[in-house]
Amino acid sequence: MWRLEEGLPSTELVEREFGADPPRRIGFDAEGLGTWDSGILTFLVGVSRMGREGGVVVDPSGLPDGLQRLLALAEAVPEKEDARSAEGDRRLIALLGERTLHTHYLFWSDIEFVGQVTLAFGRALRGKARFRGTDLALLIQQNGFDALPIVTLVTFLLGLILAFVGAVQLQTFGATIYVADLVGVAMVRDMGALITGIIMAGRSGAAFAAQLGSMKVTQETDAMTTMAISPLEFLVLPRIMALCLMMPFLTLYGDVMGILGGAFVGMTVLDLSAVEYFQQTAAAVSLQDLVGGIFKGSVYGVLVALAGCLRGMQSGKSSSAVGDAATSAVVTGIVAIIVACGMFAFLFYALGL
């Protein structure tokens, strides 16, 4: 019984024979051999290689016909010298250099992509870009209205969480009514836009990257290029436009839902009346805050769409590459949003907004 399930037979015994006084010839006695599969073949190939290296003749004639043929087949084509990649013995320095070059290349191709998109937008503004209105309408639906349920849930809960965090502190002063200020200002100025942006990075950014990536795999983008239809105009522009158009609305909607979440806590836990709560909120939140928040939201939308499309267009041509592209799109999108959020915080503070 020589089968793979039993584990691979070890060549150790034969190896020991080779030790001090190597034999000149190895033969096989296959009389008692029952069933076998590639388990025995790996053993034989091992013995045969040892024989070649040690200058010992390995005579397969004692083996069953089938095994002899398989052994001959396994050794028919010598291993190509450059077939194994040089990965194994690559030095750290070389690896570092390669990574640096690759990062450098990625950086410039990112910049180039943003430039190309800007040019395409320029053409679109002059009415020369080509894409279908029906595509844009569908994308607006998919990345606007269809996102409402998840935005509702997350922003409502975020408002609720903020209210609880504030309530614990404010209760010690007996000033629970200021929960309304806290939730209102936090949601409208920053959190509404930020959390909506992150939701869209996970939702739309990943979808864009996967859609464009798989279109590269099936050569659909090539087919556009060779029909003189620019994938950048036809695929990327409407996606960026859709998010750019929808994010202000989603942000505003998220703000309202967050305030409702806060109000829910105020009314049920803190014994505030609805009128009281909303009046307090209205007094705390200025129009300037609201406009600023919505502006941030639109910027996050553009960042998410750019990251999604960029990673999709950079995707390799395999199914795992499409998965990587989607992952990378979400990561890039979220990082871009957080960085932008930090910069806005400084900027708005410096401008006294």
């Binding site: 050569q219 659909e220 087919a223 060779t226 029909m227 003189a228």
Partner: protein
Amino acid sequence: MEAHPAGEVATPAISVQDLTMAYGDFVLQRDLTFDIGRGDIFVIMGGSGCGKSTLLRHLIGLNEPAQGEIYYGDESFTRADDERREQMIRRVGVLYQSGALWSSMTLAENVGLPLGEFTDLTPPEIREVAALKLALVGLAGFEDYYPSDISGGMQKRAGLARAMALDPDILFFDEPGAGLDPISARLLDDLIVGLRDSLGATIVVVTHELASIFAIGTNSVFLDAETRTMIAQGVPSDLFDHAEDERVRRFLRRGED
């Protein structure tokens, strides 16, 4: 080797001069020089991994040559600016290996998109032309199907209908027979010859299927993976009889010499 009928002195449809194809430092093929005559069914053949499909991608501008030049007629495609290139590529149709139909659009929309972009036809007219093109490839009545609803062979034919949408002068086929049963592959071959005869188009086919090579090829070039260059050029049946290189003969005779 004479590709054109006697007496006709035309500039070739495509002329490849001293082309080297490379991915980074890795040279795939070098020193490729050949002409594709008007009205030819030109076969690019060779073993797996020799760079046939990459050569096709170079010819249609999806990859840039590492060296050398490609001419459409007597105008350089390689040196043309983006706008001119766009105009040149519009006279070309490509059938990709998997069909590459746009999966979010129906067959009629697939065929109609280039018409909508580059002609002044009204939407009903576009639909009419699209239906006609689909009928030409045997897909009448399938206008409103999505690519995922039809079989692989039908997708290829729909891809062909789309490639023909703008009545191109040159049609490229990447492995047209791949993934098709023998009869469908044969029908596609017949369709290719029919298109050449009726539209007067020049056809470039990348394939390694011997049956198609002999059935449709009027001229060919053979790329070799080992030496990384072209080692034969000519009418496939001539090459079968007296190719100088043994590797070409072996390829055309399925390994028998």
